[in-house]
Amino acid sequence: MVTTLTAPPAASAGGVDFSLSEDQELLVEQVRRFAEERILPGVEERDREHRFPSEVVAELGELGLLGMLVEEEYGGAGVDPLTYVLAIEEIARICPSTAVTVSVTNSVCCWPIAHYGDERLKRAVLPRLAAGGEIGGFGLTEPGSGSDAGSLRTSARRDGDSWVLNGEKAWITNAGFASWYVVVARTDPQAGKRGLSAFVVPADAAGFAVGKPEEKLGLRASRTAPLHFTDCRIPAGNLLGAEGQGFKIALATLDHSRLGIAAQAVGIHRRALELAVAYARDRSQFGVPIAQHQAIQFKIAQMSTELAAARALTHFAALASAAPASAAQGDRAGRLAAEAKVYASEAANRACAESLQIHGGNGFHQDYQISRLYRDVRVTTIYEGTSEMQRLVIARHLLR
């Protein structure tokens, strides 16, 4: 039989504390100010002109926002994943295009290099990304290989002290602006997923070319283009991890990067709610501000509740990614990142649709920010693992 409960000493000093540290509060404030003062001006023009925000990239680097997760000895900010997602949320609130530019550099370029690169490679590449104002890209997807990344066909062949790459990558964020690309290619045609390896390709490598930029529904101020490898030669030391580990590295990288996309969705969701509240207070119909109509109030309440849920999942996943899991927990961090990504992206899509609805006809006009956010948010359920892939990841963990 169970024993009587007694008040444990210092139970209140337990491990549940939702407050941010002073450093985190400070950084959030700093990034928010930077986003409002430096990124917000021109955000609509850049979207309309499909123009990459080159002018703010150098400043993002100076603020340490491009190598946030990189250790300080390699020029990074060395912050924890929670601080990182807080920063992405603040940038995405103002400009989702800039947020993905930053997220890709941090999560899918710096992170795998920092984790799987050898010392020479880390010293050569990371300081330039983390502190030099250079940005990075990640080449996994191909025209015939999206969710089924293991089927990719770009090849890498060892030739003396070099690797020689041939093939094509599609939908590559930051293509043409990035100085470094983490690229996954096939080193063993017979070995399926185990025949893939990951490499770091500098943008000035011989045989490397960037194709024509894509015209997209949203995120028009982020650059997306194909990469072409034609006997593209890179040093042997640019291999990440060991030969054959490419698929594992790609999945670990995506587990991590999902936090950035979840944070991006949370930032967009927050902005959609802010815009809806401001508009509903300002706009009058039937003689009262529409914020006084219960139908509008209930939409706002739902958006607020789902934002709280999305943010809590994202922060929890970020904390989990920094903590070693016990054996019983397995790869809990991977499951939680997938939960955060699928929930936050789908909730943000709902929030943008409802915010646009509250804006009525004005929301359909390009002069209102919500019309851009409505387009921008759409991709969050697709890239870095579709919602369907997230659900498969979660189910795989549950059924382990």
Binding site: L5, A11, V16, F18, A301, L313, I394, A395
Partner: protein
Amino acid sequence: MEIELSDEQKLLRETVRRFAEEVVQPRAKEIDETGEFPRAFFDQAGELGLTGVAMPEEYGGAGMDTLAYCLVIEEVSRVCATSGVILSVNNSLVCDPILKFGSEEQKREFLTPLASGKKLGCFALTEPGAGSDAAGLRSTARRDGDDYVLNGNKVFITNGTDADVALVFASVDLAQKHKGITAFLVPTDTPGYSHGMHEFKLGVNASGTTELAFEDMRVPARQRLGGDGEGFKIAMSTLDGGRIGIAAQALGIAQGAFEEALAYAQQREQFGKHLSDFQAIQFYLADMATEIDAARLLTWKAAWAKDGQKRFTLEAAHAKLFASEMAQRVTNKALQIHGGYGYTKEYNVERYFRDARITEIYEGTSEIQKMVIADWVINRA
């Protein structure tokens, strides 16, 4: 930020889970069917310290915090939602306001026996004509010397068939609307107090829900909780806290249903495969797990805010709204995964499905939560 249970909290959760599985679960189905109020369960819960989890030890409580309280309600509701709400009402809706608004004398006389489980409490606010619009209640309290004389009727009172103490809300001046509402601590053996029979309900069937009647019920002025006209404030503040308990209850119901669905999907075969091999079922399970995790985080966050003496009205409404609607979706999917078997009494999911429904209604409907949230977001942010 840190969101991991401490060793003490884990120990508490394990202890309560064992109690729930060994003592509560074996009777869950039976009391659901008969509607018999599980008084023995309440007494045992009292011995364990579950009847006044967040009450100070000097008043008979376990001296823990709101997060611990949430763990208790979740674990008990995971096997029996009826038992969960019985505890939730005693903890959140009766003990909590006495601790917060009661005099030292009232705490000694009423809180100590309630928090230690010697007595069972109920919360009497709702009336036939005053549900969400609690300020519209019609029960009256007329001052007469050192006493008040109460008259009126209450409905849907959880624990009502078996309570020893009722926290009763009545108006000292109906013309003053909510500013006339006043709270009283009333032993249920007070002359003029009566309660109805057990009412069969769709779910949480054994929680002793019934109506109360007060006929020239004389209550000494020293049993008034707070001052004249402070009752509405006490009720609203109490319900803020109560909502965290209901969120935890919804969470427990969903967790229980999810675990049964997960096990069933891995055991049941159709088309030569386990149900869990089908992508449609995998996606149900993924969504259920995701929403349960989100609800738990919102619930814990509200509990953390309450324990930090922060304003937690918004957090509690977020948690209650999300968790209750999540429980509805999760229990529905759990039943769907069970197919025809899920519709029978042979499996527990039909009970979870029925029990979840009330969490969207009591202690503030989803619509009331949305009104509260919208008010905060639109007018106070």
